[in-house]
Symmetry: C5
Subunit: 87 residues, 5 copies
């Protein structure tokens, strides 16, 4: 899992049918002490995260399992909202 | 998912049988504010995207699921045409 | 598998249901001679690792298999505590 | 999928049984305008590609599906010979 | 697959049960002309490779298939000993 900040969202009217109704958020990977990195990607949201929140993301086939839909055309998902990173 | 721009397409007469009839597009990854990156790859097109359009792509086993064909020999797919990225 | 050091943990009250009760640790990848790298990520813990310990991690679908739960929303797991790296 | 050039092949007498009889080619990733990159890897060949040819490769679980053998111990495959990249 | 050199091995008494009895080797990725790179990782050994040998490795779900054990908690495996890379 990666520590990310939600920084935006993506609108796409024309898309693969399994993505209908999913919120697709732009996230930026953070270091464990919350510093922004250059890496950004788009993740489907399972937990209702808002812009500016710190979140946990998963990638690959795990993203489909996060939605319980093996046929989902998403390869990244937000699966938790971070309260705190303790170091 | 990645935000990409469609920049070309690939012609391959001799190919693995499951790829027959698929459009294989060259895409370039963009930053969330549409700046081009160095990363390019080839993605099979599910949604009818044209050169110059901004698209969402998926990779890995998710690409096969985007086509509903587990036996497909593609590891990247265009699954949406982006209307807008809101930041 | 990667050689990592456990450097922290993540608290997330609101999360995908399959993650309930899992310890989510922040790990830093090490070189084989234990030098820290820039790469960090979050891994679910199978073996009871503590802060400062050297561990083996797995990624992708293998992380779900480490827990024997195909439906788990985790894409990285700590699967061993390292006694020694012999070179 | 990646655009690659076939640059060599690998001989390995002692190998996992499922790899017997497979041609294992060394490939170098190219940019879409055919410039060589630093990235090289070994891919099993499905389509009969020769040294110097431009090919499409797939990675991960998709490589096994390209051979129709889920139990194959290969994580990269050549699945097409490129006639032309149109930009 | 990657061309690697076996450079060490990892001892881990406390580990996920499916890893019992597996040899876990530290490998360094090589270029096709055998030059060492910075990339190292740990791979489970299927073929009986020794320190200093050149090997082929696979990653991801393919590593589990190399052992014929879908439930194995390993995401990298040595699947062949390289006799020669011909360029």
């Amino acid at each position: 899992m990666l520590i990310c900040e939600v920084i935006g969202h993506v609108w796409a009217t024309k898309k693969e049918a399994s993505l209908s109704g999913l919120k697709m958020m732009v996230v930026r990977e953070l270091t464990p002490d919350y510093k922004p990195t250059e890496r950004t990607f788009v993740a489907a949201d399972v937990v209702g995260a808002g812009i500016g929140e710190w979140v946990l993301t998963v990638g690959g086939s795990t993203a489909r399992h996060a939605f319980g839909k093996e046929e989902l055309a998403a390869d990244a998902a937000i699966v938790g909202i971070i309260d705190k990173v303790e170091m």
